[in-house]
Symmetry: D3
Subunit: 207 residues, 6 copies
């Protein structure tokens, strides 16, 4: 059976969220021939780094992974005030691109924007057959049972994260050592070298 | 990318447990070219039907699905008294056949043998990269997020179940109408026609 | 001991939500002599069908079940922006009618309005002794332990749903076959013919 | 609608377990005209007090509640070694008496006999439409959503517990002050005076 | 090893919330020499009692416990509409006072303000090493495993609650008898006399 | 306030389990002046390495941590067949040494001995005020909220693990790289350098 290329969408609240959560997995999709779209909901106005710099950083990171980049237009920190707009935004990307596989934040997260994006994506992707939630530095109670082996993609993930220089320098939440520890830990849990872990919202397994 | 055939093991406590839980999924594996082994831990001595009849029923059901059949030697109803033996039994089948994908009971089940088989399989399959738990009529709190589309295999599943004539006739737990309702409900949840639902213990997704 | 008639309130976000979740149970309440009020929070402006049609559909459905109908005034899709107003709205209906039994959405639901209505109802009903949450097509992780036998009310439930012609025709979430599969599955779980399942928020059992 | 008397079974591991968990609820059943059977699985050989005394204490407690008493024959502390026998024992009481409503331990309990009795009862009562689990001093993670108002039965509960003089005197787990605190706390949660809390395994609500 | 005094912050939505949830624990911190700050997010405009009275009541209660009082400026009942402002408000108190230990509402609560304050505090306290959530009369599913022995502080807790005369008189949620029952129940669970229970968000234990 | 030395008990099923789960934390206890007892329930007869070697390895590891070593006498792999004996064994160590703080396996673990030891310890420690469960390579669903900073004890932990040469060489479950990844990941979650994570069964916090 031949692998038919898929269209994959990863949704994140701020520049760097997607790379932290599933950057290695996206690199694997690209390597396999899938089309990958990154939808970044805000431009990270409220964090360290100015917006112009963060836009360029995110563009470089997407290029590093081989993904297309789409920007949302929501205000950093206030995403939950625009719930319906957010659902429609994500739905429009899913429909326009016939997205089949979706990655987003987990719903248990201490950052208000992460929770809002997670929940809106679950609603927008209600007809998709594969929807997985990824881990963030602000996740809690995240106990994955689904894993992707990113041993061959760890370099790409690290390279994409290093594109976000403003965050690596100034955010306690973006720490490359921690990224490697997490990948090693999730890899041990899944009996591979390095891994990213996911909590599935819905998977229709191809058997 | 070509599909490499896999070796799949389904473990059940009694004749008919595997068919109820994942018969359609096993039929799909067979259709795809995978090798499927059914390991039935007891011969169902404690239920309706005599043992000789149940052995023949189970052989017919395995043949209907296109699966190989392996019998365990544990006493129906008393499986949990032989925990170490059970783990070794399942390990030996996994090793001898280089099993990659494992299906077993869910751990929340009101039947004592189901719980014991579920837990022993999780231990025995600790090095396998795909371990999924299936639903039984005695499951409780079973909330699947992983599904397999069995629309094309529903006939095989029903045919395999009908092989267990002693149970269809005399056990309130084996009811073909309920099997169809469940498949339709799980199908609606997963946006396909008919489905079987699974709670993943561990999945390494091939991306 | 005679059955004293009760006042029952069902709260739903959009026309048809209540019928999908607990229409059979409401028909049973009516048959028993209870007074049943349906509070529909929005008029479904954002879904398929125009508002005028949906109002008439909902009126017919309520009449079919033998229930009174009360409309809320919140905007479809944006309910969560009006949380305090929503709590006060539901409280006012509870107080004005001395409601004893309350049904509402479950809190784990991918639709933003369903979550908002669920949470607001739990707050508004904080003094009621029976508060049950029902299942929707957009529910996830819904694992009911409380059931109502709707075998004798299945026809009423189906008739009430057919009143919502705009949804049956155009919404993938309203599917009569799926409604029957779900009722059969929940019935098998609860050892009756057809059932609706509920996750209890609070029940004071009459013993 | 007249109340038809029901047959109620409460299952406990040791003398006094049932009274602690649901003594007030059983008194309410008796007051309403229901038949109540208490099945005590062991005679408490491993705890404080000698067996002869504990038998008499339990007989007095059952009489105080107005319940019939049936003794199991399993060894205190080793119940889990006799799982199949235990299931058969409970099944036989359910069948012989056409039991409709069942109370038993919760499954999260630090005492090995409590866990074994809880699980065996869930299996034995698989065809009963109302199965509720009660709280013990050794419960953990017990978060009830179902309650019974025992304000009118608190005296009976306390009287039944005082019959177990050997435990009130010598077991840190049997403390009448704590019983009253718990009843007040569960009562506040359920908006009544005093209550017992339950985690439902399965309830078919009579609507 | 000497005990180094710590700075402790308790966050509550309305006057009296903190006292109900962790008043005894705060009194213990004060007795030990820790600095305690109470941050009350709204002035309780929507509840019984006028605002001027509630401010004075809260000031007396804080003085009774030996704590400093800081007022937030959010509107009672509508806190969730101001999520980013709320996070910044709590962050500013944490930073300005180098807070090490944080107490806040649990996230499962039927009051919309309690949920909003709970979630915002988890975000604002993301760098603190001890963050504990407390119980409210509107909590549900609250199953604490962490306790503080308040036997020596029960009088202070009761005295602080009595300062809120407008609530003790007119709110069904503030009931001193229930406060004592809860303390006794949590005390029994934790093997001490009287206790407050907590669900930990994050604790770095000092070992 | 001076730190009063405590008596700490760690319970593990096999040689090396305790070191993997809480070796760093035990080293911290020793550094602080606490007395630490390691109770190893079996001699690991069923794993790689002969028993004589494993006894010596475990003795060296305990000495490395500065802990006392006590051996149980149960058969590796069959611990659950001796549940009452196991509870009594652990109780006797707790009583004889007036143990205050207890560490044991988590209850969700795919190894049958780990589950049995975890559950028996919770029962045996029912009167202790601090009972924490630790993580194993065979844990699943382990989501810690309580952490101990082991940055200063990481060397001791690694040294103790290296004493178990037979396991480091031959067990896929004992992998020093994975131990370091896990410590780094748990450290990032708890905002310290390296950490061990725990799921609390019961903690009475000293405030």
């Amino acid at each position: 059976m031949l692998h038919l290329p898929k269209t994959v969408l990863a949704v994140g609240s701020h520049p760097d969220d997607i790379e932290l959560g599933c950057g290695g997995t996206l690199a694997r999709h690209v390597a396999r021939g899938d089309r990958v779209i990154m939808l970044v909901i805000t431009k990270g106005q409220a964090g360290p780094g100015d917006v112009a710099a963060r836009i360029i950083e995110q563009e470089h990171a997407a290029a590093t992974l081989g993904a297309e980049l789409v920007w949302g237009d929501l205000p950093d920190g206030r995403v939950s005030n625009h719930e319906l707009h957010l659902v429609h935004l994500i739905e429009s990307v899913i429909r326009a691109n016939r997205v089949q596989v979706v990655y987003t934040h987990g719903v248990e997260d201490t950052h208000q924007d992460h929770r809002a994006v997670a929940l809106a994506t679950l609603g927008a992707a209600r007809h998709c057959q594969q929807v997985l939630t990824y881990e963030s530095p602000s996740s809690y109670g995240f106990s994955p049972r689904v894993f992707v082996d990113i041993s061959s993609a760890m370099d790409k993930k690290a390279a994409a994260l290093r594109c976000h220089g403003s965050q690596v320098a100034d955010s306690a939440m973006v720490c490359l050592d921690a990224v490697h520890s997490q990948a090693g830990y999730r890899g041990f849990q899944s009996r591979v070298g390095s891994a990213e872990g996911f909590v599935p919202h819905r998977i229709v397994l191809e058997v």
